[in-house]
């Protein structure tokens, strides 16, 4: 009697296990499932313009590349991305010196106007700071950005030629 009960149980469980996947004659099987598609963040950046030379004629004086002072930028670039982008600006001087103070700010061009994006006026940012660029769709058709630099030399800065090396690092905000 126990054996018969066991066989019946095995048969029942077997039928239950196959229920979702087995179809008998004249079937019309519909299978449905949800696939996950991850659209990753992409970025297009094109360098449009770059100034290679900065002249410092006097100490404790601001020499500024900006659209307001001289309509000049250290970098002008166009970007497009399908989500907000983090931008970190870093730079170093060669030969290294603490006697030349270098700051940066970022500008967005909307139509023909440049608007300060980071940091808010009248502040300036230091090397290593990060700002976030909005999703390019939010900027309309123009996605132009300008990196503005400010140089201020101490009185004791030796005269000479200094090389500044910039690194602009773009990182995604959408990561899976």
């Amino acid at each position: 009697m126990r054996k018969i009960l066991l066989v019946l149980l095995i048969c029942s469980v077997g039928v239950l296990m196959m229920a979702g996947a087995a179809y008998t004659g004249n079937f019309n099987a519909n299978l449905q499932g949800d696939s996950q598609v991850r659209v990753h963040q992409w970025l297009d950046v094109v360098l449009v313009e770059r100034t290679n030379l900065v002249n410092i004629f006097n100490y404790e004086t601001d020499y500024i590349q900006s659209p307001i002072t001289n309509n000049e930028m250290a970098f002008i670039f166009v970007y497009e991305s399908n989500a907000a982008v983090n931008l970190t600006v870093e730079y170093s001087l060669n030969p290294a010196t603490d006697l030349l103070d270098v700051k940066w700010s970022l500008w967005r061009r909307i139509g023909f106007n440049w608007i300060r994006h980071y940091p808010a006026l009248p502040n300036w940012a230091n090397s290593g700071e990060t700002t976030q660029l909005p999703h390019s769709l939010a900027l309309g058709t123009e996605h132009w950005l300008g990196l503005s630099m400010k140089f201020n030399a101490s009185k004791d800065l030796p005269a000479g030629t200094y090389k500044i090396t910039y690194t602009l690092t773009f990182t995604p905000t959408v990561i899976f």
Binding site: F27, N30, G33, D34, S35, Q36, V37, R38, N82
Partner: protein
Amino acid sequence: MKRLLVLALVVVFGALLLAGAMFPGRPGGFNAVLTGDATIRVHQWLDATFTPGEADILDYGPLAELVLGSLAIDSNAPVNIAISANWNGLAGWVSVGGYYPVGTFGDGTYPVKALNLNVNKDTPAASYTVRVTITITPTVVF
């Protein structure tokens, strides 16, 4: 007398009914052969499993294929397969030229793919749920 008559009638009819199956032959036996055709219809059965997967779109523009999952087929005849997909949030951002597999397939495990996608540049980066519907019909039908 009536009982005898009834009995006699029953015996006669019984002999008539059995006539087709009786083979009076030579003394010692007979060699009887009956033939006939019976039709047995073995219907098509199917074990099928769709396993949805995960896919990544890394860049905008044309994309030859996107694997949305896998389909396992085990049947006693080839099956017809048709696939459709609801792209949910991706609809409008992605155009798709076709799916695979579509057509007649035998036993095996097949990738379920969207073919010839064109991903719009403005597609927001995000995770999208794509609902895949697979309809399987038999090729052997009675």
